[in-house]
Symmetry: none
Subunit: 195 residues, 4 copies
DNA sequence: CATGAATGAGCCTTCATTCAT
DNA sequence: CATGAATGAAGGCTCATTCAT
């Protein structure tokens, strides 16, 4: 069974993600990516039109992988809060392996030209769509309050988790598995104010 | 009264922030910055050693401006929750004017090479230090719970606010002044869970 | 038979020598060298890391060519004095074609930054090593006196020849083949003093 | 007595020689020279039209100083061979202090653009003119042979001395005063061949 | 006169992209 | 299909020179 076109595309995207991750978009070079993928530079252009397109397709690819993994991960869990904890944990592991790229997807971007930022919006939207379904399930199950704008809730959850992970992992060099996810998620659920 | 060295430095940094903002670090060119500042390319190098240094000094400059403004803004307000609302609102306005650059400071970065990311840590730390003082005041005044790790609380607050603003402003194109800051902050204080 | 990597390197170095020769190191530009070699500017960097490296490799290349040619030239000549005459003559021709560059190798340098001067020492040393062998042969054959420090002898021979050629060719515009090499070498052998 | 125009010119040229010496022509900057001369950059241009002119006037200045010093130094010496030894020794000291610049004058140049090389010819010529007078004196006094072209003799003497000094001082890091000038000059007078 | 801030031409170097093999 | 040699546009940075003060 010889590897088909899709396999090669994946192989290139995996390499690209690794290199984008290590160097960021601008300092990542096609040469480095090709070397990482153990193919020739020209071959990259057989599968992708440009560096920009390779980047975009790579983050879409990784996003889909992330969402698929999440769906699988939470399928046996009933409680929404616990699902969120599972996703947050998984996201931590994911970040550890995909660092920069993951952030591009899930957190706020910066230093990118508007052009690149635009190319990431759709990806963010689909993450949010996935999370929104979870949130609606939580509202339905009366785990989550229904008296506040849902998008606001979503962004409070996600922003709280993301920012905690980002700070802990990238700035304080804590390992993903050592982060107290439960505390974070509980804090977001229960609020920071004194009741 | 002829403009002195500091004035020119500020003039260049303002231009730099505008251009970094518009194009991101890598696509911003010294030529563009010089043109924006209405000076010659060489002049930039009379005041800054390199593009990297100009970037770093610019974000430190804007951060200090942001913190100074915040201090001024909240000095007559007693309640910490309201102080946070004021800061969140101001931050929205600030983002509107400094967009990308502000985020570099306040949100999560991405796509940057590790080198640049490192240069931003100190800046982030000083923002967090400022916010932490606020949070400790809130704990003392019994507005904020004291049974959870303070850093976690801080990151939940800030992440929630930032992510909401980011999404609303950059992705949904809402104007800063139209964002329901109170709802966001209240949600973070009261939690997203059903009590 | 397509040209291989070595051929291209040589092609670039030949062009580089021509341009360094014409303009000196600092005024020679990669653009000029590339144009001379009839290739793109970027191609130069496929074969050499930097302008400095290109310069260094070029002078090493030309030195080796010079020494190889000399070895070939003198192999059938028995008398050392005549070998030296042959080398001096060949050196004149060589200078005519490589002017500045040859001098960098064989004469005294000047106006170079210390960095560049350093990079030339090894090259000079290997020329001297080659000539020293000749000199030792001359001592053994009793053609050359053995009561004076050998390095001093070497430098008197070479300095006398070089300086004569330099003056004649570059300052008086005499053609290499019109220089009375025998007179020069004889003068050095016999001394300038009245016996 | 306020310093007049000539004094300031000399002050600048002294500084220029120091800097040209340290960095070579191309890496020497007007900024460095002005700083060394403890004046403003603009002031240099009050006295000299361009960097090139400053360089040329500086080497002419130093050459005249060198020749004047030599004339003074040898005025009480009768024997030409000893005069040459004195000059060679003084030249060594001079090189030590003016290194690169001296060489530009006295040895063979290299790596310079033709333009600069041309500007040095006159200077070299006047050194040779001075030495030629000495040589003619030697011929008259029957210290030096008269059966060989005088220019050839001159260049053999000077080339032998210069090359020895250059090698010893710059490549072998010997101090000027430790060089066996007598051996060198004797070798040139007596020849390198076995009599 | 003296100054040094301002300038922009110019150059080395990088790298996405192309294309002949 | 796969390759990687070749390319040239583009950008950071330097520095001789100018000129307003």
């Amino acid at each position: 069974m010889k590897p088909n076109r899709k396999d090669k595309e994946h192989q290139i995207m995996e390499a690209a993600l690794k290199v984008f991750n290590e160097y960021g978009f601008y300092k990542a070079t096609i040469a480095k990516i090709a070397k990482e993928a153990q193919i020739g530079k020209g071959t990259v252009y057989e599968y992708f039109d440009s560096k920009k397109q390779l980047f975009e397709k790579s983050i879409i690819y990784i996003k889909e992988k992330f969402i698929d993994d999440c769906v699988e991960l939470i399928k046996d869990e009933k409680e929404v809060r616990k699902k969120i904890i599972l996703i947050a944990k998984y996201h931590g592991i994911f970040m550890q392996n995909h660092a920069t790229t993951t952030e591009i997807l899930l957190s706020n971007s910066a230093l990118l030209s508007k052009e690149i930022i635009d190319s990431m919006m759709d990806v963010r939207e689909s993450i949010y769509t996935f999370l929104m379904e979870l949130l609606e399930e939580g509202i339905e199950k009366k785990e989550i309050r229904d008296d506040v704008d849902k998008k606001t809730l979503l962004l409070c959850i996600w922003g709280g988790i993301m920012t905690n992970y980002y700070q802990r992992m990238f700035l304080e060099k804590t390992k993903a598995e050592d982060i107290g996810t439960e505390d974070i998620v509980n804090t977001i659920f229960e609020g920071i104010g004194r009741s």
